[in-house]
């Protein structure tokens, strides 16, 4: 009896050292050497020359928090909230108290039969239609349903193409140019098998800001 308790305590302590300390530290060491970017949240800095134009009226209001803007422009894996019609919108997010709160990932957990779900979807559809009245296509489902994590960085190809008309009009960019931009940001199924074709909304919007700036410089003043 006592012998068993003594063995249990010692063995648990030793296995803790191996599986709870040595193992995670060894994985961390290999990860930090082999895949430093991936192991640290796949963060990226703002690409040079991209999007210094403040398309959004209250973008970059640093006074509230600190005077220094963060070094990182985002994580490639974590979505950001977009509600300005000049940007491509990502998936609705159920996180609180703000959409895409990455410290509190959450789905809506609404049942298919929950009337609140249908109401929420209907409202999202109405908002899309309001910003883009000429677009009569059916709305791709992922654009109006909230993701599992509330942090989904992607939308489907269909959901991106659905928004091209609206963004092109508001940005005064040719829809053809914008279509090309979306297609160049497609992430396809890995080796044609794993996953779904998708677009990273944050990366697409950063590229959109850069493209808008480029286009605005190309505009030749009309002759007098």
């Amino acid at each position: 009896m006592f012998q068993i308790l003594r063995t249990a305590i010692t063995l648990l302590a030793l296995l803790t050292v191996i599986t709870g300390v040595a193992y995670p530290f060894a994985v961390t060491a290999v990860a930090q050497i082999g895949f430093p970017k991936a192991a640290n949240g796949s963060l990226f800095e703002k690409p040079l020359g991209a999007g210094n134009s403040s398309v959004h009226s209250n973008a970059r209001d640093w006074r509230s928090a600190t005077d220094q803007p963060p070094k990182w422009a985002g994580s490639e894996l974590i979505g950001q909230p977009f509600s300005d019609p000049k940007y491509f919108w990502g998936r609705p997010s159920a996180t609180a108290p703000v959409a895409y709160n990455s410290m509190g990932g959450s789905g809506s957990n609404q049942a298919t039969t929950n009337p609140a779900l249908v109401d929420a979807v209907r409202e999202r559809v109405a908002k899309l239609r309001q910003e883009d009245p000429d677009n009569l296509a059916k709305v791709p489902v992922d654009l109006v349903t909230s993701s599992a994590s509330g942090l989904d960085p992607h939308i489907s190809e269909a959901a991106a193409l659905y928004q091209v008309g609206r963004v092109a009009r508001l940005r005064k960019i040719e829809p053809y140019t914008l279509n090309k931009l979306v297609l160049s940001h497609l992430e396809r199924p890995t080796i044609g098998i794993f996953g779904q074709t998708r677009v990273n909304v944050l990366k697409l919007n950063l590229a959109l800001d850069a493209k808008a700036e480029e286009v605005s410089k190309l505009v030749i003043p009309a002759p007098q």
Partner: protein, 582 residues
């Protein structure tokens, strides 16, 4: 379903079944104490552990000593995890300065991780320090899985040994499962996951800028986002391989930093079933007839595949109420389509349904989509998968020892039908084995249905429901089915973190894990004492398609008879409501 989804599911079965034999063979050598290729690297560590903890490797245990050692070791695990949570504010590696966990939640979490359930009533990123996650939870991920494997091996020894009192040494089985099987596989898996973007660092969370500022619920402008970090990959690798399922982050494997790409998703869902499937081969190898193992694997697949088909179909069809309001849910080359509420775009509806079926077939319980938002039939599948007793793959070790108990029941009933003494693998099945087998089969349903009855009768139970109508009942039934079968997945909207449910579900997890381990070991001890009876003309062969159907039939029969009334009150009514409006 689009082409890539079909190919992904097809490839899943090819890879899974392809790995059964090599991994199963390797594990058989580990348990038989034969050279397995890693002896030179791991042998010295193993012997040091034995020397320091006073284990004599060749010392054999009777079933009662084996059971006692198992219970003591697991009880100790519960105590340690509980204390770690209560004291984490004074312990190192707590960069977010998280405080002590409440007593009821700490109890629930400690039981949950020791019993290989990994039900989570908390959100990791905002509740537990890195220290608690590593020293408490990651360790229990390993040893709770190793406990299940040890009990399985003890049962197999009961079947193969003749006229002896002993069934092996728990400490040796535990240590060898951890060091030779779980640890190397987890290490490789963790590194691959990191390469895909799963985080692994001890740095605190970092701030990034938002491209467009957002407005929070109070109308304040938000210009930054805080990206959570931590040593996640190392925990996620073992969470899947050891059928634990407890996420590093609150939304589990739906979190982009926990399951970042379609490839990481494929590897994780593969890891959920990998060891449980390969142990079937290990079983066949150790009893000297691999066909016995393949037969049990076939019985698992006979139930798994149709369930998967129904779940994928239900989720891919989508939500009829959304089709009414001009939403495009079709599946094509441009979108996954289907019921995308609570699912991630990179996985799509089909791969999410595959995960849901696998994680509940195995007693894993990690999720990559929110089961609460599944269609009624899509949600019925994971619910029923758990209620079948976690024997279709099931937990590592525990799934197969559960299925062997069903096999014993099957030979008993078949023996009754033809009037012969039932035998399994040369051992006569008699009254004592049947009594113990009945306990194993009947306790989980009793816990699930009894617990659900208590919860729905009390205000404090009904208060946790967050969806109206029959779905609310399903939320409670799901929680009890999950805890009462040591699965750990949840209908995420359910308000599980209340003192009432922390205690009720904690008790359910304790009973259904340890009250089953004891009778299983009792059967092992009783079988080991018996002599070998050579097969005669009247012996039912246990490697044939007929036997596969018998075993699968037993599992389905018990599961259907016990749970159909409860299922009818929840998902079935909900399905009829959803489709009736058309």
């Amino acid at each position: 379903m689009n082409t890539s989804a079909w190919m992904e599911i097809g490839l899943f079965f090819v890879v899974l079944i392809g790995l059964v034999k090599p991994l199963g063979w390797y594990m058989a050598r580990v348990y038989a104490g034969q050279p397995c290729g890693l002896d030179r690297a791991i042998g010295p560590i193993e012997r040091t552990l034995y020397r320091l903890s006073g284990v004599r490797q060749d010392e054999e245990m009777t079933w009662t000593t084996y059971a006692f050692a198992t219970l003591v070791f697991n009880a100790l695990g519960v105590v340690v995890v509980y204390l770690l949570q209560r004291t984490q504010e004074w312990l190192p590696l707590n960069p977010q300065q998280l405080g002590a966990v409440a007593p009821d939640l700490a109890f629930n979490t400690a039981v949950s991780f020791a019993s290989n359930t990994n039900w989570q009533a908390y959100s990791g990123e905002s509740t537990l320090s890195y220290f608690t996650q590593m020293i408490g939870l990651t360790v229990q991920n390993f040893v709770s899985a190793a406990t299940g494997m040890a009990v399985l091996i003890a049962l197999i020894r009961g079947l193969t040994r003749r006229m002896t009192e002993t069934i092996g040494n728990f400490w040796v089985d535990l240590t060898r499962s951890t060091l030779y099987i779980l640890l190397p596989l987890s290490f490789v898996m963790a590194i691959i996951l990191v390469s895909q973007g799963v985080v692994q660092t001890f740095s605190p969370a970092v701030e990034v800028a938002l491209l467009e500022s957002a407005t929070d619920a109070e109308g304040k402008s938000v210009t930054t986002q805080t990206i959570p970090l931590g040593p996640a990959a190392s925990q996620i690798a073992i969470k899947q391989l050891g059928t634990n399922g407890g996420g590093f982050f609150g939304v589990n494997s739906a979190h982009p930093l926990e399951n970042s790409t379609p490839l990481s998703n494929f590897l994780q869902v593969l890891a959920i079933l990998l060891i449980a499937a390969a142990l079937c081969y290990t079983f066949g190898d150790l009893v000297g007839d691999p066909r016995q193992g393949w037969a049990l694997l076939a019985a698992m697949l006979v139930i798994f595949v149709p369930m998967l088909v129904v779940c994928v179909w239900a989720e891919q069809v989508g939500n009829p109420r959304l089709s009414e309001i001009d939403i495009d849910q079709t599946s094509n080359a441009f979108q996954s389509g289907g019921n995308m509420e609570g699912k991630e775009v990179r996985f799509g509806a089909a791969a999410s349904a595959l995960w849901a079926t696998a994680t509940t077939a195995a007693s894993n319980g990690s999720v990559n989509a929110m089961h609460d938002s599944f269609t009624p039939l899509g949600g019925l599948i994971p619910l029923w998968m758990m209620q079948l007793g976690e024997v279709i793959f099931g937990g590592v070790g525990s799934g197969l020892y559960g299925l062997i108990i069903f096999a014993i029941l099957a030979v008993f009933i078949a023996g009754l039908m033809v009037g012969r003494t039932p035998e399994y693998l040369g051992k006569k099945i008699e009254a004592y084995e049947m009594k113990m087998a009945s306990l194993v089969v009947l306790i989980p349903p009793m816990v699930v249905l009894g617990g659900t009855a208590i919860a729905v009768s009390l205000d404090v139970g009904r208060a946790s429901v967050t969806n109206p109508g029959p779905h609310g009942f399903t939320q409670i039934l799901y929680a009890l089915s999950s805890a009462g079968n040591n699965n750990g997945s949840a209908f995420g909207g359910f308000g599980a973190n209340t003192p009432f449910f922390n205690c009720l579900l904690g008790a359910a997890m304790l009973i259904s894990r340890y009250w089953l381990i004891v009778p299983v070991l009792a059967i092992a001890g009783s079988l080991a004492r018996k002599k070998y009876t050579p097969p005669s003309a009247g012996t039912l062969p246990t490697h044939t398609p007929l036997f596969v159907v018998l075993v699968a039939g037993m599992v389905l029969l018990v599961g259907a008879l016990t749970f159909v009334p409860a299922l009818a009150l929840g998902p079935v009514i909900e399905h009829l409501q959803l489709t009736a409006t058309h």
